[in-house]
């Protein structure tokens, strides 16, 4: 048996003494990571701790400065990701890397195209891909064009791509961010199957509850140094958080002590979309209130937010701000009515990656920092930006740093700062902490709390159930494009949210 022969060394993968720096910035210092055969090994750490760099060295995307990588006891030195794949190291990155205009099957076998033969047997490739997808338990048509898939389906294809007969080490970087709990469970079932086949899995996630469900061993990175590995059974959430941020984290969610007003600051009635599944959505937000919107992926939460904000077209329904009827035919009109939207898709819709923090924050706020002819008052702009950077604790060497160089958490704060820069009356925050590390999460929760205290109506959309129960005063649950049920604080539970999400009544 091939697997038995490989079992000469105890570990499938041994990375020892790995160091790497970019210019004068040291990213990894003497890091060790040992993964056994058929083990699910969780790699944890805050954004910027060096997880992605370590994985990129493993896959061949980056070259280490020093250290040694052994695969099945033999030293390997992949020069690029193709080398890595040939060795059986496959990585599913956080950013999707599919070719939109090719079919699902073509994407799955993309790395093999042209490898051996000049002619491809498309029929067989499509059949193979379909079998692979079916075996994963997700309903995806292998001949469909990737562009037409939902983001959840795209993520599944990305994972399918990384699983092949010769996979020895599979790295998953935040694979479940777009998944709802059912999809996540399906993924876990698949991971257990792979584990039985002897594949070693390195699993990166900010969702600690996932780690306890699936991981055998945990390694925590902090500031480019590993704080050691231990069996998952010997550590708890607090212990991991302590290792990750180096301090105790008692109150993940802030105390909600805001007095919620009586009359609605913001209300939508029978909102129905022209181009999406959203229909007959009605709700209101009171000043000082944090309203949560939960639901499965594809239930219309993001679409509802974009409909309110004027980014999608409306068919019918009305919107009221402070009791007055308003129209939001475009984002321009929504912003004029002081409604803000923090998009779930931070990099593509939320921030301007190549521009500085200053230019990002000012983009909504020119009325107050420029003269009537549009000339920018530099002092005023700097004061405003500096004030917001302090208030939001945006960690950067200065306001001129490009946003692409910031960690996910700091990028998200910049996206928020844009709307705090103008005094928004209503802020819709779609997935406030997706891809954000624990420390920054707490800061963002506190910020949401503070904003609500000032009387702003805050609407938070989230797939993270502990999060939405932790910060919202009231939760609306969406199902198939409309609001299926409303949960007051005393009825908050994961089970209740899930029941409404799948269109069932509460027990």
């Amino acid at each position: 048996m091939a697997i038995m022969e490989e079992n000469k060394s105890e570990y499938r993968l041994e990375m020892s003494g790995i160091s790497k720096s970019f210019g004068i910035v040291s990213v990894l210092e003497d890091v060790n990571l040992r993964v056994k055969h058929g083990e699910i090994h969780a790699l944890l750490g805050e954004n910027g701790a060096g997880k992605s760099t370590l994985m990129k060295i493993l896959s061949g995307a980056h070259q280490k400065d020093s250290g040694e990588v052994l695969l099945n006891g033999k030293e390997i030195n992949p020069k690029n990701t193709h080398d890595g794949q040939v060795l059986g190291i496959n990585v599913v990155y956080q950013e999707l890397s599919l070719v939109n205009d090719l079919s699902v099957a073509e994407n799955i076998y993309l790395h093999k195209l042209g490898a051996n033969k000049f002619w491809m047997n498309w029929k067989k490739i499509t059949q193979d891909a379909q079998e692979l997808l079916d075996s994963l338990g997700f309903e995806i048509d292998a001949s469909a064009t990737v562009r037409n898939l939902s983001i959840v389906q795209k993520q599944v294809v990305e994972i399918a791509k990384a699983i092949s007969e010769d996979t020895k080490v599979l790295v998953l970087d935040e694979p479940t961010t777009v998944f709802d709990p059912t999809d996540t469970q399906k993924l876990f079932d698949n991971l257990f199957k792979l584990k039985e086949r002897g594949i070693s899995i390195i699993y990166i996630s900010h969702h600690l509850e996932e780690i306890f469900k699936i991981a055998d061993t945990v390694t925590v990175l902090k500031d480019g140094v590993d704080t050691g590995s231990m069996p998952t059974s010997e550590i708890d959430t607090d212990g991991i958080i302590h290792l990750m941020i180096g301090r105790e984290l008692k109150d993940l969610y802030p105390l909600r002590d805001v007095v919620v007003g009586d009359t609605a600051i913001f209300e939508v009635k029978n909102l129905t979309a022209k181009d999406t599944l959203v229909h007959d959505v009605s709700f209101c937000v009171k000043p000082g209130e944090v309203l949560g919107i939960a639901g499965l992926g594809g239930s219309g939460r993001t679409e509802t937010a974009k409909l309110i904000f004027g980014a999608h077209r409306k068919k019918s329904g009305s919107i009221f701000l402070n009791g007055e009827k308003i129209t939001t035919k475009s984002p321009v009109e929504a912003v004029e009515h002081e409604i803000g939207l923090v998009s779930e898709n931070r990099k593509e819709e939320g921030v301007f990656l190549p521009l500085s923090i200053r230019k990002n924050i000012s983009v909504t706020n020119f009325d107050s920092i420029s003269s009537s002819l549009g000339f920018i008052k530099t002092d005023k702009e700097h004061d405003n930006v500096r004030g917001l950077m302090n208030k939001l604790n945006i960690k950067a060497p200065g306001s001129e740093v490009d946003v692409k160089n910031l960690s996910g958490g700091n990028q998200q704060k910049v996206a928020l700062a844009k709307w705090l820069s103008i005094d928004s009356k209503v802020i819709i925050i779609d997935e406030p902490t997706r891809g954000v590390d624990v420390g920054a999460k707490v800061e963002i929760y506190n910020l949401i709390n503070e904003v609500a205290k000032k009387g702003v109506g805050v609407i938070v959309i989230s797939s993270d159930m502990p999060e939405i129960m932790g910060i919202a005063d009231r939760i609306l649950v969406m199902h198939e494009g409309t609001i299926y049920g409303e949960l007051p604080k005393e009825k908050f539970s994961e089970e209740n949210i899930l029941r409404y999400s799948i269109g069932k009544a509460l027990k």
Partner: protein, 322 residues
């Protein structure tokens, strides 16, 4: 990290990094020194003033091109627009008082640019296609209006323009002064005005701009209208220099303008680029032609050298990214 110039230069490989970062200026200086060494005619006032006169027209449309490219668009129509507007200006100079002729030409330039702007911003047509179509239309209209042959200036207004365009003030050619004024205005608008900020924001992420409540359509419309207006200004200048408007003017100027912008380090996908670097790009292209002319190199080898320099400049910029 923000390092001071001195710190930058003192780090290992600092000088190289510095040169790569300011590669456009570096190439420009190398070319100037090279030209001065190789030809003793180069540093004469006659030659330098000729050089400036030659680049002013393309320089002005390059500024417009830069603004369009900053939004992630492109304007292929400017070369043909120069031809059409030069013909129109020659006709107007012979018909109306000079100020009216200038004003009308600029307004028509704005109008033609607006057509491109409308198609791109509100009909969502790809900039390449919309301006390609306008390029053909404008060139054709130039031939129709001029009946295929150049139209000469025949009035005192025309004479005045011709004098203005061929003379200098304090040693600097008047048309170069016009070009420099445009450069200064554009620098101020892009650096210190909301207009520039939003143009760059749109180019670096159009969807994020839309979701920030920016009137994306309005600004995309405006950049093409500005590009058209600048094409009209360039047309007035080149027509005045030669005392006539010809439908053959501005041939492939759009390509030279794009080359100047790209040599200046701008990204064709938008969001990155500066007027000063575009000015350097314009001067580099002008210098290459100038020195090759002084060395009596014929025009076909000149094209080969120009292409080579463009590739070299863009390769240098890739080093900068690394």
């Amino acid at each position: 990290m923000a390092l001071t110039l001195k710190q930058q230069l003192s780090t290992p490989g600092g000088i190289l990094k510095f040169l790569i970062k300011y590669n456009t200026i570096f190439i420009f200086l190398v070319l100037v020194i090279f030209s001065a060494v190789i030809s003793d005619v180069f540093f004469t006032s006659v030659n330098l003033s000729n050089l400036l006169k030659q680049v002013s027209g393309i320089g002005i449309i390059s500024v417009g091109m830069l603004i369009v490219i900053l939004t992630g668009g492109i304007d292929l129509s400017v070369g043909s627009m120069v031809a059409l507007l030069a013909v129109i200006f020659a006709i107007f100079v012979n018909l109306f008082a000079l100020p009216l002729a200038i004003l009308l030409t600029l307004v028509i330039g704005f109008g033609l640019g607006s057509v491109a702007g409308y198609l791109v911003a509100y009909q969502k047509m790809a900039p390449f296609i919309a301006t390609l179509a306008l390029m053909t239309v404008a060139r054709g209209m130039g031939f129709i209006f001029s009946k295929g042959s150049p139209i000469r200036f025949e009035t005192y207004g025309g004479l005045f323009m011709s004098n203005f365009a061929n003379n200098s003030t304090l040693g600097v050619p008047n048309i170069a002064i016009v070009f420099f004024i445009i450069v200064i205005i554009a620098t101020i608008m892009l650096k210190y005005n909301v207009f520039g900020r939003l143009v760059i924001a749109i180019g670096s992420n159009e969807e994020a701009s839309r979701l920030s409540g920016i009137k994306v359509g309005k600004y995309k419309f405006l950049v093409y209208a500005i590009s058209g207006t600048l094409a009209a200004l360039a047309a007035i200048i080149v027509a005045s220099r030669t005392n006539l408007g010809s439908p053959n003017m501005g041939l492939s100027w759009e390509l030279d303008a794009i080359a100047a912008v790209v040599i200046g380090g701008a990204s064709l996908s938008g969001g990155k680029g500066s007027v000063i670097n575009t000015l350097m790009g314009v001067l580099i292209l002008g210098l290459i032609s100038n020195i090759l002319n002084l060395l009596n190199v014929p025009s076909y080898p000149q094209q080969v050298v120009k292409g080579g320099i463009i590739i070299f400049a863009v390769l240098l910029q890739r080093f900068e990214k690394k």
